[in-house]
C-alpha cells in the first residue's frame, strides 16, 4: 500500500478525513463528499465553498471484511459501510465494534480513530470511523 504511506497525500486528505469537510455549491445547494472543486450541475457557473457535514449518518449497505488487506489485518473481522451523510451524499467507512451488530438502516456517528499504522517506523494515519448509535 504505497499510497497509504505517502506523506503529501495524507496531508492533502486531512480535512475530509479528520473533520468530514467536503464542499457545497451555494448556487444550486448541492453538497459534495469527497470535496469537488467544480459543481457537476452548474459547472463553471457554480460557486463552491467548504462544507462541514454533521457527524451523523445512516448505513445504506455494508460488507464484513474477514480477510483484510495488508495493513488492516489487526482490525479483522470488521464492517465497511456505505453511509449516507445527506440525501445523495455518501461516504465509505469502517464501522467500529462488533460487525455482527451492523445492519442496513442503522444510524451511526463519527468517532476519531487511527486508520492505518505504517509498519514500526512509518506514519500513523488518523481519521473518522463510524460507531453505531443506540437503536
Amino acid at each position: 500500500m504505497p499510497q497509504m504511506s505517502s506523506v503529501p497525500i495524507a496531508w492533502r486528505l486531512q480535512q475530509p478525513r479528520y473533520r468530514l469537510i467536503g464542499t457545497i455549491c451555494t448556487k444550486c445547494n448541492t453538497s459534495y463528499f469527497p470535496p469537488r472543486s467544480l459543481c457537476q450541475t452548474c459547472r463553471d457557473k457554480g460557486k463552491i465553498e467548504k462544507h462541514k457535514f454533521p457527524g451523523t449518518g445512516k448505513i445504506l449497505t455494508y460488507t464484513v471484511i474477514r480477510i483484510a488487506p495488508e495493513g488492516f489485518a489487526e482490525f479483522a473481522p470488521y464492517a465497511i459501510a456505505i453511509i449516507e451523510l445527506e440525501p445523495g451524499v455518501t461516504v465509505a467507512g469502517q464501522v467500529v465494534g462488533d460487525p455482527e451488530q451492523v445492519k442496513t438502516g442503522r444510524k451511526v456517528k463519527t468517532t476519531f480513530r487511527r486508520m492505518y499504522t505504517d509498519g514500526k517506523d512509518g506514519l500513523l494515519q488518523y481519521g473518522m470511523k463510524w460507531e453505531l448509535l443506540d437503536q
Partner: protein, 346 residues
C-alpha cells in the same frame, strides 16, 4: 477583574473493560484480595485504533460542544500524556487539526508522568490571565501500559479529560499552586515498552508526601478548610491512595466519592484527576467549591480550588457525561485484552 476558569469540559473513556478478577485469574492470584487492596473493580481498555491522540480528540470535541465557542477562538493547545503515539511529532498537531483549531496557535505536548494534564491547565490559566490568549485548551490523556504480570497491570487504563480555560467561565479557577521535588518512584527510559517503579517506595515519600504537601500548601495559603468544599478530587493510581490521602487531609469519604472514578475504570494516568473532575462537574451545583490535587511521578503535585457558577446548568447536558461513559461498557477476557494491547509479541 473578570474571573477566569473552565468555559467547557469533556471526558472520554474507551468502551472495553477488563476486571481485576479476570487478570488475577490468568496470573493465579487471589482476585478478592487484590481488588479490595487496590479498591479497583475493573479498568478501561482502548480499542486497537485508539490512542492518546484519538482520546484527546473525543474529549476535546465534548469540551468544545459544552463551551459553545468557535474552535478558531482557541489560542493554545497543550496535551499532557506519557503515551504520546509519536516520540517525535506532537500529538497536539493532529488533535488541533481534527478539532478545527486555527493555525495561529501556541502548542506543545507536555510530559510530567500523571500530572502533565493539570500542568497544561495551569499554563492555559496563566496565558488567559496575562491576556495573551482568549481561550486555551488543556488535555490530560493516556493509554497506560503495565508489564504483563506486574502489579500495574491491574490498574493501567485509558481515558482523557479536556478543559477550555477562558474568561466568563462556568467554573472559576480561584487558586492554583504546585509542590515539586526530585523523587524517582516511577520511570520509563526512552525506547522501553513498559515503565518500572520503586514498588513500596511509590507510596509514602512519593504520592503521599507530594499530594498532602501540595494540598496543605494551597489550603494554608488561601485560608480554606476541607469542610469548605463540596468535592475533592485527588490523583488515583488506585482507589486506596486517594482514600488514605483525603482522610489525612481532613476530607470525608462523601467529598471524595463522586470524583473517585478509578474504582470503575482504573488509572488513566494523565487523564486520572481530569476525568475525576469531569465526573464532579457533571453534577456539582452552583456555588459549590471543588478541591483538586494531581500527582506525577518524579515527582510533583498541582492543586486547584474551583467554584461552580450557575452557568454550568446550561452547558453540562451538551455532551456525553462521564457517568454515561462509565456505564456504557463492554467487558472482555484476558485473551481479547492481550490482543488489543499488543501484549503478545510474535
Amino acid at each position: 477583574m473578570s474571573s477566569i476558569g473552565i468555559v467547557g469540559y469533556g471526558a472520554y473513556v474507551p468502551r472495553f473493560r477488563i476486571s481485576v478478577e479476570e487478570i488475577a485469574r490468568v496470573w493465579n492470584q487471589d482476585a478478592q484480595t487484590i481488588s479490595n487492596g487496590l479498591m479497583v473493580k475493573e479498568k478501561s481498555v482502548p480499542d486497537k485504533d485508539e490512542d492518546t491522540i484519538t482520546l484527546s480528540v473525543e474529549a476535546g470535541r465534548n469540551a468544545l460542544a459544552r463551551a459553545g465557542i468557535d474552535p478558531t477562538e482557541i489560542g493554545a493547545l497543550y496535551i499532557g500524556s506519557e503515551s504520546h503515539p509519536y516520540a517525535v511529532k506532537p500529538s497536539g498537531t493532529v488533535v488541533a487539526e481534527a478539532l478545527g483549531l486555527p493555525n495561529r496557535l501556541m502548542l506543545a505536548d507536555f510530559e510530567f508522568a500523571c500530572k502533565a494534564g493539570t500542568a497544561a491547565m495551569q499554563v492555559c490559566y496563566g496565558f488567559v490571565k496575562g491576556g495573551v490568549i482568549d481561550y486555551g485548551m488543556a488535555i490530560g490523556a493516556d493509554t497506560a501500559q503495565g508489564r504483563p504480570g506486574d502489579a500495574l497491570e491491574y490498574t493501567a487504563a485509558a481515558g482523557a479529560g479536556a478543559f477550555i480555560i477562558g474568561k466568563d467561565p462556568v467554573v472559576t479557577l480561584d487558586h492554583t499552586a504546585s509542590f515539586t521535588s526530585d523523587t524517582t518512584d516511577f520511570w520509563r527510559r526512552e525506547g522501553q515498552d513498559y515503565p518500572r517503579h520503586g514498588s513500596r517506595f511509590t507510596g509514602e515519600p512519593a504520592y503521599f508526601r507530594h499530594v498532602v504537601s501540595s494540598s496543605e500548601q494551597l489550603l494554608n495559603e488561601t485560608g480554606y478548610k476541607p469542610a469548605d468544599f463540596a468535592y475533592v478530587v485527588l490523583h488515583m493510581p488506585n482507589g486506596k491512595f486517594p482514600t488514605v490521602a483525603s482522610k489525612k487531609l481532613g476530607f470525608t469519604p462523601d467529598q471524595l466519592k463522586t470524583g473517585l472514578t478509578v474504582t470503575r475504570m482504573g488509572n488513566c494516568y494523565s487523564g486520572s484527576s481530569p476525568v475525576g473532575l469531569t465526573a464532579v462537574l457533571d453534577i456539582a451545583q452552583p456555588g459549590e467549591k471543588i478541591f483538586m490535587t494531581s500527582y506525577g511521578s518524579g515527582a510533583g503535585s498541582d492543586s486547584f480550588i474551583f467554584t461552580v457558577t450557575d452557568k454550568i446548568l446550561a452547558v453540562r447536558d451538551k455532551a456525553k457525561k462521564t457517568e454515561q461513559y462509565l456505564a456504557d461498557k463492554k467487558n472482555i477476557d484476558y485473551a481479547t485484552y492481550a490482543r488489543l494491547r499488543g501484549k503478545l509479541k510474535v
